[in-house]
């Protein structure tokens, strides 16, 4: 009945396969190296966005303008929102996709490695261009991350920072689109034998559907941005009433992108927690097909709800969008119950990844409930463009992304680096973050209902706005402090972390069947894939209840007869097999038959 120790089946790589030189990083096309770069860059933008938020909270801690003026404040919230949404939340999902999709489906790399690298560099340059707005004479863009026309036009925002913002989003949007194409092609074309669609890990499913939404939404944003750029640079009257244009068109286009965008941000992180909960519950994910159907419903419905951001414009059919928006609550509720259902009857432990996952559930459920409120025009008439909305989307997008991002970091750090992070520091970080996060954002709902609009540099004293704002600013300080134990954990792990081995958490999906960090083409061998948990099946192969769909006996019998069963399916790299044109350094991934038969 004992577990098979996966580590005994995996030989660690001779050296860390990530690039060792600076030039190596610039030219790499390895999906793992690109995934790491995506993660590091987006984490950097998270820190930048957080620093901007810190300045805003300093300004808002007390009524009156004391720290920055309105002009600076407007730049701060614009770049804070843009950096968090476009440069942190979406790209961190791309980082997860890049690193994990090939590993989870048993592929040697993404389908288009060079497109992958191109996508990363466009994203990085785009992000830097956006931030470079701060060093222009008029400062960065200052019309909010939604850039409503006509304020974002040349008359409303004459500065070069606005153009740089548009250009930055054109670059990052293109990068996101290319990355989505890559993800879809990889999942459709490069799955290992036996990895049927309904055996994909839920994370991979979610990343596939995210890529769907990106393909639909990002080009619309790019188109809208080109229109905006044309109206700024070439006086195209697209959003100008005097020239026959319509400002409301921007809002339709922007939110047609913007609402799927919310789910583009969230779905990868839903996938992350769906990977983590079963591992630490020792149970299969509860209702796999239900979860897939729920995810498909969410991603399709997400394209039909855009105008719930426009209830107060008086220009949309409010009932249609209210109904479609509220419908999303159903599959979302199903997901939450699937997550809880996975834990019911399980055998739960709570290392940091699981703690952050629970933190995600707490914040997400709260944000989901306020989300249903906002989906109702009756309530949105009051809450729209108020601090209630700010509180809501920080619970949903921020709560989801921040807690779940840290869950992902703590969960996959050992796989990426081969070293463990210290649990104790993770627990300290988690509790600080949970307290700080809720203190920062819970009072905002109250502020909004009392009548505080969003995007204001100042508010009147003694009008009911003072205390919640002060609480929020103090909460931010706690949240900032929570990054210290995290940084310390990283430093200690890189310097002297305990070795992780291939499978530190006793994981389920294929990435735990290869060494930490994985070799250049990911796998030396692959276990047979008979369920959505091939590594789990392998670990418990001697357990009578495991071995999906009654195949345990067959497996065991085969293992007894066939010495070569473990490890059965070798991978190898072969540079000689390919004759690339030009002088491109190329390797071929070979999937072998049973060991020994495939040698040349």
């Amino acid at each position: 009945m004992s577990e098979v120790d996966i580590d005994t089946l995996v030989s660690p790589p001779a050296r860390n396969p990530l690039p060792r030189t600076f030039l190596g990083w610039l030219t790499t096309t390895d999906h793992k190296a690109i995934g790491v770069m995506y993660a590091v860059a987006s984490f950097g933008f998270l820190l930048v966005g957080g620093a901007l938020a810190g300045m805003m909270r300093a300004e808002l801690a007390r009524p009156g303008e004391q720290f920055v003026g309105a002009a600076t404040y407007n730049q701060l919230f614009t770049i804070h929102g843009s950096a968090m949404v476009y440069l942190f939340a979406v790209p961190f999902g791309v980082a997860i996709a890049n690193y994990l999709v090939p590993l989870q489906i048993g592929a040697p790399d993404m389908a288009f490695p060079r497109l992958n690298a191109l996508s990363f560099w466009m994203y990085l340059f785009g992000g830097l261009i956006m931030l470079s707005g701060f060093i222009t004479t008029d400062g960065a863009a200052d019309f909010g991350w939604t850039a409503y026309a006509p304020l974002a036009g040349r008359a409303g925002s004459p500065g070069a920072g606005a153009d740089l913002w548009i250009i930055a989003l054109l670059l990052t949007g293109t990068a996101g689109t290319m990355s989505a194409v890559n993800t879809i092609a990889t999942i459709v074309m490069l799955r290992a034998p036996g990895m049927t669609m309904f055996r994909l890990p839920i994370l991979t499913w979610n990343l596939l559907l995210t890529a769907f939404m990106v393909l639909l939404a990002f080009p619309v944003l790019s188109a809208a941005l080109l229109m905006l750029l044309a109206s700024r640079q070439l006086d195209a009257p697209i959003f100008d009433v005097a020239g026959g244009g319509a400002p409301i068109l921007w809002q339709h286009l922007f939110w047609f992108f913007g609402h799927p965008e919310v789910y583009i941000v969230a779905l990868p992180f839903f996938g992350v927690v769906t990977e983590i909960i079963p591992v630490f519950s020792r149970r299969p994910v509860f209702g796999y097909k239900g979860l897939v159907i729920a995810t498909i419903s969410i991603s399709s419905l997400s394209t039909s709800v855009w105008a719930h951001h426009m209830f107060v414009t008086g220009d949309v059919v409010v009932e249609f969008f209210a109904i479609t928006s509220m419908l999303i609550a159903i599959p979302t509720g199903v997901k939450v119950f699937n997550w809880i259902g996975t834990m019911v009857g399980g055998s739960l432990i709570f290392p940091p990844p699981m703690l952050f996952t629970l933190g995600f559930l707490v914040t997400f459920v709260f944000g989901g409930i306020t989300g249903v409120m906002l989906a109702s025009p009756a309530l949105d008439f009051q809450a729209s463009d108020s601090y209630f909305v700010v509180g809501h989307f920080h619970y949903v997008m921020g709560g989801t992304v921040v807690f779940s991002m840290f869950a992902a970091v703590w969960f996959w750090w050992p796989k990426v680096t081969g070293r463990m992070l210290e649990d104790r520091l993770g627990r300290i970080q988690f509790w600080l973050l949970l307290v700080g996060y809720n203190a920062t954002f819970i009072g905002m709902h109250l502020l909004g209902n009392r009548g505080l609009p969003r995007r204001i540099a100042d508010y009147p004293a003694n009008a009911g706005f003072d205390d919640p704002n002060l609480l929020s600013s103090l909460g931010f300080v706690v949240m900032a402090i929570s990054f210290v134990p995290f940084a310390w954990a990283i430093v200690r792990s890189l310097r002297s972390g305990a070795s992780a081995g291939a499978d530190p958490w006793h994981g389920n999906s294929l990435e735990w069947a290869t060494s930490s960090p994985p070799p250049v083409h990911n796998f030396d061998w692959l276990p047979p894939i008979r369920s959505e948990r091939p590594v789990f099946d392998l670990r418990w192969i001697e357990h009578p209840d495991i071995g999906s769909v009654g195949e345990a006996d067959a497996w065991l019998g085969r293992q007894a007869h066939d010495e070569r069963w473990f490890p059965l399916h070798p991978w190898r790299e072969d540079g000689a097999g390919a004759e690339p044109t030009g002088s491109g350094a190329t390797k071929v991934g070979h999937r072998g038959g049973p060991a020994g038969e495939d040698e040349p």
């Binding site: 190596g24 610039l26 030219t27 040697p108 490695p113 191109l118 049927t196 999937r591 038969e597």
Partner: protein, 125 residues
């Protein structure tokens, strides 16, 4: 392949239905055309996948009892390192910034990106 094809078909049908519904409740032009585009894009990929389903045998990744050895051999050719991606990205970034700074910079950036794009297509490292 069949599952993927079904998903994309469902996507196309969903957007067609949604577009019709949106028109019926009095939706405006921008949303209607975007939903229509969703139908068209989903449909293109669905058609391609259904053709594959018809013309090719069931691939090993879609067979529940497949062994790794069923798909033995070369999986694909993967470039290990290349200067072209960062070159194209840098050129594109400079060209776009040129739209603000001045046409001369845009031209330099575009030429740089074209140079590297050529390299990418010709598989020059």
């Amino acid at each position: 392949m069949r599952v993927e094809a079904t998903i994309w078909t469902a996507t196309a049908v969903f957007f067609a239905a949604l577009a019709a519904l949106y028109v019926a409740v009095g939706g405006e032009a921008a949303g209607t055309s975007l939903l229509g585009i969703g139908f068209a894009f989903g449909g293109i990929i669905a058609v391609w996948l259904w053709r594959r389903v018809r013309t090719e045998p069931v691939p090993p990744e879609d067979r529940a009892a497949a062994d790794m050895s069923d798909d033995a051999g070369s999986v694909g050719t993967f470039v290990v390192e290349s200067w072209r991606p960062i070159g194209i990205a840098a050129g594109a970034a400079v060209a776009l910034v040129g739209l603000v700074v001045g046409p001369w910079l845009a031209i330099i950036g575009a030429l740089f990106a074209m140079f590297h794009l050529t390299g990418l297509v010709r598989d020059v490292r």
